[in-house]
Amino acid sequence: MTISTSILFLLVFRTLFINDPQPAPARDIELVIDHAFGPEHLTLEKGYTVGNQVVTFTRLKYYVSNVTLRHADGTTWRDTEKYHLVEVDEETAAVATIKLKDVPLKKLAELKFSIGVDSVDNHSGDQEGVLNPDYGMFWMWETGYVFFKVEGYRASGEHDRGAFVYHVGRDNCFRTARLEIPGDVTAQASTLRVAADVSGIFKGLVGQQLRESKANASISVMGGPKALEAADNFVKIFSIAR
């Protein structure tokens, strides 16, 4: 084969097989997380009833990571910004918005995201961006991250008041939410609304523990089986809003 035929072959091959694809049409999607307690919009420093307890949140803060969208055609899109820190405070009014940039303009089938920091980054010391220790989510003494913080007060009466502090991290508490996106969400949709009903945090063992707590007892969940259940509960508070 002469050099010129080789070049010709390469050119034809390139044209036929590795033709640069036109960038697929894309749009940005706003992933909006609305925090609520049951039917009510979540407000910090406000009492909500769980069983015979009244709980009041003073802090709700967590990492949303590895956001992935599966399209109806089976392809997936992955957020290049791996970590987002969500914090409910007075300014944000319990609505968190995460911008998903350049998502192909295709019909969506599933939203997937994790709560926390994956095992690779959780063992790489303190890091940049929202993983900076400034955000108060880094356990300085064991160089790992807190995946979510839920803090507040609990009371079952005037003489039984305490606090709850859930600081949950460690690899075995890393959880992933998979939410099916309903068929009526169009391919052009630029907003995806997710409801987060934080009353779910208290379900199961944790709720049980709240009910059984002794007078003035306070509750801390950082490690151990309670943390695993808290993580299980936390990831289930999310659903696609209708």
């Binding site: 003073t58 220790p133 108060g136 003494w141 305490g162 502090v165 509750i219």
Partner: protein, 381 residues
């Protein structure tokens, strides 16, 4: 006379600087009645300590420049910014005490006392709430408030502007930094903020330990782990519970908390700003950098020593309705009603807090009073 003479020599001296003759003047060029003009000009090369990270924002309309920082330094120490020319920012924020003043309540104008203790200054670049009650959300906003406070410097902004405008020194410096010799309050605030943003403290024994330059003692290391740890007795994890509010490598987070000082606080703290009873007795958790230098402690200076502070958190928490859950819940014994640290643990935590003293920072000439050198020079001449 010296002042006038030097002022006329300003341009000559600048030429000298550019000719590299700075060395003749001991490394700094003295201009006017201050020693602020350095050979460096233009955009400031900010050195951010690696562990401190990029979680800060410099306003687009107030970029750091060498000239802006030096002007800010002069204004920080400028007593003309008070009604009777006796008080500057530096009066209460003294460098040798890590920019605090050693008093429970600070001395304001004409013998008055401030209502709260002076907060030490360092690493303000990373802060976005200021004052004990967090009422200002930028340094620019903060800087003008003590000037106007009737208990502190007690000038209207118009008076402050006019006093500086009527000097020979300041109009050309403002022109150099902001492009106009018409001084404005906003530009006063900007210059002071520039100076404050470069007051970075990152050379304590703790910082050197983080950089691998030295080892902490066994006691200091135990103290560091306790300091940073929220206790979890079920898992046999002991903690001093300090890091939840004074965390990160800067020993400073951004929270505003009720830390159990009083059942019925006389000073209602953040409630006075927001009007919410849920903010009663809440104050900003300050940085504990240089904490060994900044007694007395708390917003009202009620504690004289670090031992008293640790005893407060260990034994004397007052459980009012707004006491922070992080304090209510924390104990080193299952079901414990208080923190329950041992005497040795308390000592270790204090030993760690003493590693946060940065002697470089409190002697760094870049942050010192530029007017003091002149006095020395005058005495010599």
């Amino acid at each position: 006379m010296l002042r006038v003479f030097s002022y006329q020599l300003r341009s000559v001296l600048r030429c000298a600087a550019t000719l590299g003759l700075a060395a003749l003047f001991g490394g700094a060029i003295y201009v006017g009645d201050i020693d602020t003009i350095t050979p460096q000009q233009g955009p400031y090369q900010l050195q951010v300590p690696v562990k401190f990270g990029p979680a800060f924002r410099i306003p687009d309309d107030n970029p750091l420049t060498y000239e802006g920082i030096e002007l800010g330094r002069m204004l920080f120490y400028e007593k003309k910014l008070s009604a009777d020319n006796t008080i500057s920012c530096g009066t209460c924020h003294q460098q040798s005490l890590a920019f605090s003043d050693g008093k429970a309540f600070s001395d304001g104008i004409r013998g008055s006392k401030t209502k709260r203790s002076t907060i030490p200054l360092s690493n303000l670049l990373w802060k976005f709430k200021f004052f004990w009650d967090g009422r200002a959300s930028s340094l620019e906003e903060q800087a003008l408030i003590p000037i106007q406070d009737s208990l502190e410097m007690h000038l209207t902004l118009d008076e402050a502007v006019s006093k500086l405008q009527n000097t020979r020194t300041y109009p050309p410096l403002f022109k150099q930094v902001f492009g106009s010799d018409q001084i404005t309050a906003a530009n006063i605030a900007k210059a002071i903020s520039q100076f404050e943003r470069v007051m970075i403290s990152s050379n304590s024994r703790y910082d050197k330990f983080l950089r691998g330059e030295l080892q902490l003692t066994e006691q200091e290391k135990i103290g560091m782990d306790l300091f940073m740890t929220h206790p979890l007795p079920e898992n046999k994890l002991r903690g001093g519970n300090c890091g939840d509010c004074h965390g990160s490598f800067k020993i400073s987070l951004h929270g505003i908390h009720n830390n159990g000082l009083d059942l019925e606080p006389q000073d209602r703290g953040r409630e006075l700003i927001t009007g919410k009873v849920t903010d009663r007795g809440k104050f900003r958790a300050p940085s504990l950098r240089n904490i060994a230098l900044t007694a007395p402690y708390m917003h009202d200076g009620r504690f004289q020593t670090l031992e008293e502070v640790v005893d407060h958190y260990n034994d004397h928490i007052q459980a009012s309705a707004t006491l922070d859950p992080l304090i209510i819940e924390a104990s080193n014994q299952v079901g414990g009603k208080s923190l329950l640290l041992t005497p040795a643990e308390k000592k270790a935590i204090i030993a760690f807090m003493k590693t946060l003293t940065d002697s470089t920072f409190i002697t760094d000439e870049r942050f010192s009073d530029p007017f003091i050198k002149v006095d020395k020079r005058k005495k010599k001449s």
